[in-house]
Structure formats: structure tokens, C-alpha cells
Symmetry: C2
Subunit: 196 residues, 2 copies
DNA sequence: AATTAACTGGAACGCATCGATCCGTTTCGG
DNA sequence: CCGAAACGGATCGATGCGTTCCAGTTAATT
């Protein structure tokens, strides 16, 4: 159980009943799926329905909708940050960058909520988490560029924006995006970023 | 006055009063600006306020909010289609493609509403207009690819999706997009699309 | 200048949806 | 088998929407 979601149940003096614990897990899982599929703006009813639980139960297990969604997003962002930090262990600057770029795009493409949160979507209290991710990304990008692997005529925000742009819309004109459309987009962008 | 917006006032037997005509123009201009800046989901109050007009006036000059927004979008799409068709006059397949790509991205980047409408945003009655644009784009792309200018390992929807992806989010992480961010994105993508 | 039909602004209506609460009922655990 | 804990979902109050309505105003015509 990730940190922020865990903190939602902190302060409970004694262990809750078995069904209460089970319902909490279900609610978190349902909320994660709903945030992934529908983005920010998930409703309490949607989450409760997915969890197979009533509205009363949701509010008995969770302080508020905002707290639940924010906790889920905070954990998702922190996990991504950890992966970015881990990528710096790769001694090859370009490979570290390119490998993490794939993670960055894939995770965002698979969660509308995460994508929206990282696109400055709402005024949730995620600023510190976002700042951590941004710093890790900046290091990854600047190291690859200093090594001469990324075109020198770009600054690092350019690179960041181009990566963020790789996430495709669900539809474009009459065409539905394929499941791996993000990968096709990213391949084009990575080619365009590479120096030489 | 473009075709679809014009059609909103068709059927008026005799010329309306001068203030009525002026208010209609103001409403259309206000609605265009609002759709550009705020996307679909503009409200009647927002448009009326921008036009410096009351709600009653809006509904006296326009049949409904949907009709107004749809007409504006239809005209915007049709104008883009005309530009795409015009690009085919350029004998150089690559230059025709690249030049229109710039128009395509710039227009979408400057109008959230148009961008949303072309991203399958809402169930407005724009299918035929969208289909026309798509066909013009397909021709441009396929011609450039047949000429060997676009990488051969992509299909034309890949190219279309990558162009649509060039429109940046307003923010990414803590960074605000610069006014020309779309151009920087597009430059990277164009490089990645080019064969050789 | 007088007349009147057209036009105007904005309060108000009806509806939909949301987060959150409340309470009669059910279920777990000792 | 009992009581505390938890349950479901009707319900509340607030919000925001598109649209209508009407008392007052204005532009065109005579």
C-alpha cells in the first residue's frame, strides 16, 4: 500500500472490522481504475458503484473524494519519480533518457487522471510531488544533452513538452487511437530529438 | 461571413433592425473568441457577457447555444479543409505536406474548441465536415509518402496522430507552455517523420 | 414628434448533477 | 446471542446549466 493512500487510514486507533478493511481496498482499487479511465472529475457514485459498495460506506472509509483522488495521484507521481531517479543509475545518458521516456509516456497514456494532473489540470495539492518529478526529469534530460545525444538547439523544457505531447487523444478526426499509438508517437519524437 | 454562421440567420423574411444586426455580429465574434479560449463547454452567459449583451438578446439572434457553437466549428473546419486542398496545388509533395502541417497545428493550437472538436470531443453534428478534412489530409500525407519523403514504416494515421499530438498542453508539470511551443513540438515531429 | 413593432437586459424557471449526510437495517466478532 | 460497528441508498443543499419570459427601451417610419 503506497504512502499517501496509507495515510488515509492513519489515526484509526484499533483495527477495523474485516469487511471494513475489504471495502477500503475495493474503494481504492475502484478509484484507481476510475481515475485511470475517466480522469479527474470521477464522481463518488462512480467509485462506489465500481467497488460494489454504497455511498455511505465510501464516506465511512474515506474522508472525502478529494482526499482519495489526491492520495492516489500523489502515489502515482511518486512512483514515476522513483523510476526516473532509478534511470539515472544507467551509465549511458541517452539510454537512460530514452528508456525513461517510454515509461513516462506509457504511464501517462494509461491514466487519464495522471495525465491531467501532470498537465496542470486542477488545483490539487500535488505541487511538491510534481516538483520532485520535474527535477528528476530535468536531470535526465540535461545529462543526455550534455553528452551530446539530444539536439543542442533545444532547451530542456522543449524536450519535456515534446514527451508530454506523445500521449495521443482517444480519437483524431474519424480515427480511433490504437492501443499502442503512444508508442508510435514516441518513436517519431525520439527520432526527432536525437542529435546527429 | 462563412457559410454555416450565415445559415443561422437565413429564413429572416425582411432585414432586421440595425442594432439587431450589430448584436448578431458581436455575438458571433464573442462566441468565436470564447470557443477559442475556453473550448467546447462555453456557456451562454460567457458569450453574452463578452458580446456586451443580455441573455435575451442572445436567444433572439441565435436559435440555441448548440447551433451557434456548431456553426462556428463547422466553418473553422471547412476553412482548414480548403487550405489542405489548396496545399495540393504545390507540386512538391513534401513541401505541401510540411507547410500544411504547420497550418494544421497552428490553427488547432490557437483554438481549444477546434482542437477538442477534431479530437472527437463531443457528439456535435460535424461528422461530414470532419470527414472532408480527413480525406484532404490523407491525400497530402499519402502523396508525400509515395514520393519517398515520409518514412515508409508509418501508415498515414500514424502521421495524422503525430501531427495532432504536436499541440501542447497549456502546462506540463510546473512549466507553462510558451506561445510558440506548438512550433517547437512540430519541428521535432517533422524531423522524426522525414525519411532518410 | 408621434407611433409602434422590434428589440433589449436580466430575473426567474426547470432540470440535472454533484459532494456529503443521515438513518433504518444488516453483519461481524466475541 | 448481543452490541457495536458497518452497511446501503434515499435525501439534502448547493451549484450551474440552457432556456424562457416580460416590463422597459429603442430604432425606424409617417
Amino acid at each position: 500500500m503506497p504512502a499517501a493512500v496509507d495515510a488515509l487510514v492513519a489515526g484509526n486507533t484499533n483495527r477495523p472490522r474485516a469487511d471494513a478493511q475489504r471495502n477500503f481496498q475495493r474503494l481504492v482499487a475502484a478509484a484507481r481504475a476510475a481515475v485511470d479511465e475517466q480522469g479527474l472529475g470521477v464522481t463518488t457514485r462512480e467509485i462506489a458503484h465500481r467497488a460494489g459498495v454504497g455511498l455511505g460506506t465510501l464516506y465511512r472509509r474515506v474522508p472525502s473524494l478529494d482526499a482519495l483522488v489526491t492520495a492516489i495521484l500523489a502515489d502515482a507521481i511518486d512512483e514515476m519519480t522513483a523510476r526516473a531517479a532509478g534511470a539515472l543509475d544507467d551509465p549511458d545518458p541517452w539510454r537512460a533518457f530514452a528508456d525513461f521516456a517510454e515509461v513516462f509516456v506509457q504511464l501517462r497514456a494509461s491514466s487519464r487522471g495522471l495525465h491531467a494532473a501532470l498537465s496542470g489540470g486542477a488545483g490539487l495539492g500535488l505541487d511538491e510531488h510534481v516538483a520532485g518529478l520535474q527535477e528528476a526529469l530535468r536531470r535526465l534530460i540535461c545529462r543526455a544533452q550534455a553528452a551530446g545525444s539530444i539536439r543542442a538547439d533545444l532547451d530542456w523544457p522543449d524536450v519535456l513538452f515534446s514527451l508530454a505531447s506523445a500521449i495521443p487523444a482517444v480519437r483524431t478526426l474519424d480515427l480511433a487511437a490504437r492501443a499502442d499509438q503512444w508508442r508510435r508517437n514516441l518513436a517519431i519524437i525520439i527520432t526527432g530529438l536525437r542529435a546527429g
